[in-house]
């Protein structure tokens, strides 16, 4: 279970060991006693029951001892959990954004990624945002989880990774159709390596080299932003209309209650990304997609358009 991957692991695992240890002791003990009774006091061996209506002394014993044990469990649980709520003042702050059905992580210098990159042995403070419904950010290896609630201000969590490597990051609050595909990775890097990566802001303003495959770059954006969770490439309908053959077509839409047709061009794509409910594609519901303003740049939209064009070839 990647033990030792964050500073919380020890406290949480101690609570697990304490609670599970006592639980197994009682489960096995009581089960063995029952089996013993079933054997010894079987009517064939023990035809006459010996009546006994109770014992106040025993009742007190088996009230007080379990009470003491569960208070111990409460204590271990409290001790293991307390550091999670003590968010340090200093650390790397990252804004985690969740939407149906992808995560994105925004760094202070404007860098936005779909995996969470963090430096080792550094406090990482995540500001949690959700665009549409409740999601939950869960990193099993770090023993952390916090719900991402739309509209909840100042919702934060923190952790300090202590081991290099990649770890799974899941959404654990059911959020609809593609919930089980809403997962990504945390990549823990050496601090120097992380800061080098951080300083490289090519993700922010893409320097598009001469002769680069623009459609491929667009495809990477579409994949990393989670667009394909709702928009298929093979002509099938998932939640929203397919991308296949869409470019250049006339789209039947409803704009502020008015039926009309618009050309599937750069302007339409851009408006659909920034103001998804402005033109509702007929046959689809409003309110399904939330704006990507601030998450997808206009330069990226140009690349997405190149990708959409390539689907017609």
């Amino acid at each position: 279970m990647n033990s030792g991957a964050s500073t919380f692991v020890e406290g949480v695992d101690n609570a697990f060991i304490f609670i599970l240890g006592i639980s197994f002791f009682f489960l096995i003990g009581i089960t063995l006693v029952m089996i013993l009774f079933l054997y010894r006091y079987n009517e064939k061996k023990h035809p006459k029951a010996v009546q006994n209506a109770g014992s106040t002394k025993l009742e007190i014993i088996w009230t007080v001892i379990p009470l003491a044990l569960v208070m111990g469990m409460f204590y271990y649980g409290y001790v293991g959990w307390k550091p999670m709520k003590r968010i340090p003042d200093e650390g790397v702050e990252i804004t985690a954004n969740a939407r149906m059905w992808s995560f994105s992580f925004r760094y202070d210098n404007g860098k936005v990624t779909d995996k969470l990159y963090v430096p080792k042995d550094t406090a990482i403070i995540l500001n949690l945002n959700a665009v549409d419904v409740i999601h939950s950010l869960y990193i099993p290896a770090f023993r952390v989880k916090e719900d991402m609630v739309p509209g909840l201000a100042n919702n934060r969590m923190w952790f300090e990774p202590t081991k290099l490597g990649s770890y799974s990051l899941f959404c654990t609050e059911y959020c609809g159709l593609q919930h089980s595909y809403m997962h990504t990775e945390v990549v823990v890097m050496e601090p120097e390596e992380f800061w080098t990566w951080y300083a490289d802001t090519t993700g922010v303003a893409l320097p598009v080299e001469e002769g680069a495959d623009l459609a491929l770059l667009g495809r990477q954006i579409v994949e990393s932003k989670g667009c394909l969770a709702c928009h298929s490439l093979d002509g099938s309908t998932i939640i929203g209309p397919t991308f296949k053959g869409a470019w250049g077509s006339n789209v039947p839409v409803i704009t502020q209650g008015q039926d009309r047709e618009v050309l599937y061009d750069y302007e339409y794509v851009k408006r659909s990304i920034y103001e998804p409910d402005y033109d509702i594609h007929r046959g689809y519901r409003a309110g399904q997609m939330f704006s990507y303003e601030g998450e997808i740049t206009e330069q990226q939209i140009e690349l997405i358009v190149e990708f959409l064009k390539s689907l017609n070839e």
């Binding site: 609570a15 609670i19 649980g77 509209g151 609809g176």
Partner: protein, 537 residues
């Protein structure tokens, strides 16, 4: 009234009233017939929801698409949850065995308000029908999970409102049954039956009835607020309208946690009846069991926050809820110790109801002890909303309430139907079910600790091993259910007839009336002098 149709000597099954055929059942105000109406409804819907569960487990046997797509899967776990919770386990034992046996066990001819009792069943049926319409009308079956969490329940295009409204209507059935039982227990005990001479099953029904009366209105109000929000756009829970989704979770769990005790208390009551009878021994610590029942019913109101440990509540609220959660564990532990002590130096009769009762203690312990992991803050954060939780509540709700229901059904079956079931088939069914049950749910604890989230249509290859075992267990368990049900259904119609009043040697009043009971149960209301479990001869 002719002599042949006298309420004192004609079995409730043969009594000819105003109506004939099916109408003689669905318009009967006899508490025993109403109990059977609930039983048949539940067995039917349980079978439906169990098949849904089996389809889900079959989908999960391998990663990716196996037999269905994600939308179908999400709708299935929603419907499975709604049926199992609102149609089966919440009404559960009180509606079936409470209706049938509460009046008999306290020496009464019927419940206090027989017509209200029938109305409760009708509310229940109407609620179910409304829920079913959500499956076939509108934009497809709801896919929110049985918890209807905001704001997802507002975002989804599926047909959520009828499901919510159906659950609302079923809530009235629950409240009315609760009122009926409280009044019956207060006003209609036989002469001489003081509170502490009352059997334990009625005691647990009493605790349950109060929870039904006090907690159910909260969910009713909440579901109504959802309807108002969806239809009129008033911002209550939806952040897009300025509402607070966490408020929804609070209101939902203020009801739904006590509801867990609605499910489990009567189960504990049934087990407390069965163990002394098959041990030929008085119950150990009668008063301790009564007091622990009342303690659970009371403290159970104050622990709802442990469903929300990761939702962003303040730290102080979190450790208060954690502390109270640990307190509520104690009364359940006390009951387990008393049950096991009742078996000590007894003369144990190895028969089907007793197998169910002993296996109940085993699975209930696993359910309860895994609850300690969830009550503790540090461990809860890790396993919250993972398969660990799914395993935990199936051990409590299915392992606890389900096993107790089967124990009660096999215990009271001869009294209810005047026929006996085939013991060998019953034991075989129990054995297969028990093995399948543990194979199905134990691996989920492991999957949860490894980090597999719940409500997952698909999963990473790391989780494959545990899922294979679990899915195979589902098939074994369902085979057990088929054997058990086939045996019971066959026996209810063609089983060996019996008029023996007391086949198991019980001491409570239902074993002193005719088998099957006459319409008014007692020719003469008995006077109670002894406690309910005095086995010394």
């Amino acid at each position: 009234m002719s002599e042949a149709n006298n309420a004192h000597n004609v079995s409730y099954l043969e009594y000819k009233g105003q109506y004939k055929g099916l109408l003689a059942w669905i318009f009967s105000t006899d508490h025993k017939r109403i109990g059977l109406l609930y039983l048949y409804t539940m067995l039917f819907f349980f079978s439906v929801a169990a098949i849904l569960g089996l389809l889900m487990k079959t989908q999960l046997i391998a990663p990716g698409y196996t037999i269905m797509g994600p939308q179908t899967y999400n709708s299935l776990f929603t419907l499975h949850g709604i049926i199992m919770i609102f149609v089966i386990v919440v009404p559960g034992l009180p509606a079936v065995f409470g209706n049938f046996f509460l009046p008999i066990m306290i020496g009464a001819k019927d419940v206090a308000f027989p017509k209200l009792n029938l109305l409760s069943w009708w509310f229940y049926i109407i609620g179910i029908l409304i829920v079913l319409t959500s499956q076939f009308m509108g934009d497809g079956p709801p896919d929110t999970g049985w918890t209807f969490y905001a704001p997802y329940s507002f975002r989804t295009p599926t047909n959520v409102l009828p499901a919510v409204f159906g659950a609302f209507v079923m809530g009235f059935s629950s409240i009315l049954t609760g009122i009926n039982f409280v009044v019956t227990i207060h006003r209609m005990r036989a002469p001489g039956m003081t509170w502490f001479k009352m059997p334990l099953f009625p005691w647990t029904l009493y605790g349950t009835a109060w929870i039904q009366i006090l907690a159910t209105p909260v969910i009713g109000i909440t579901l109504l607020l959802i309807v108002a929000e969806r239809l009129m756009g008033i911002g209550i829970f939806d952040p897009a309208l300025g509402g607070d989704p966490i408020l929804y979770q609070h209101l939902f769990w203020i009801y739904s946690h006590p509801a867990v005790y609605i499910m489990i208390l009567p189960a504990m009551g049934a087990i407390s009846e069965i163990i002394p009878v098959f041990s030929r021994k008085t119950i150990f610590g009668y008063k301790a069991i009564v007091l622990s029942t009342l303690a659970i019913a009371f403290v159970g109101y104050f622990v709802w926050g442990h469903h929300m440990f990761t939702s962003g509540m303040s730290g102080r609220a979190l450790y208060t809820f954690s502390f109270l959660t640990f307190l509520v564990a104690i009364p359940s532990a006390i009951k387990v110790f008393n049950w096991v002590s009742t078996m000590h130096k007894g003369s144990l009769q190895m028969q089907t109801p007793f197998y169910w009762a002993v296996s109940f203690i085993f699975v209930f312990m696993i359910g309860g002890l895994s609850g300690l992991v969830l009550g503790s803050l540090a461990t809860n954060v890790h396993v919250h909303d993972t398969h660990f939780v799914v395993a935990h509540f199936h051990f409590i709700v299915f392992g606890g309430t389900g096993y107790a229901f089967m124990a009660a059904l096999h215990y009271w079956f001869p009294k209810m139907f005047g026929r006996m079931y085939d013991m060998n088939w019953a034991n075989l069914g129990w054995g297969i079910f028990f093995i399948g049950f543990n194979t199905l749910y134990l691996p989920m604890f492991y999957l949860g600790i490894m980090g597999m989230p719940r409500r997952y249509y698909d999963y990473l290859p790391d989780f494959h091993g545990g899922n294979i075992v679990s899915s195979l267990g589902a098939w074994v368990m369902v085979s057990g259910i088929v054997i058990i049900f086939a045996n019971l259904i066959r026996s209810a119609r063609h089983g060996e007839k019996t008029t023996e009043k007391n086949p198991w040697g019980g001491k409570t009043l239902e074993w002193q009336v005719d088998t099957p009971p006459t319409l008014e149960n007692f020719e003469e209301i008995p006077t109670i002098e002894k406690g309910p479990y005095e086995f010394e001869d």
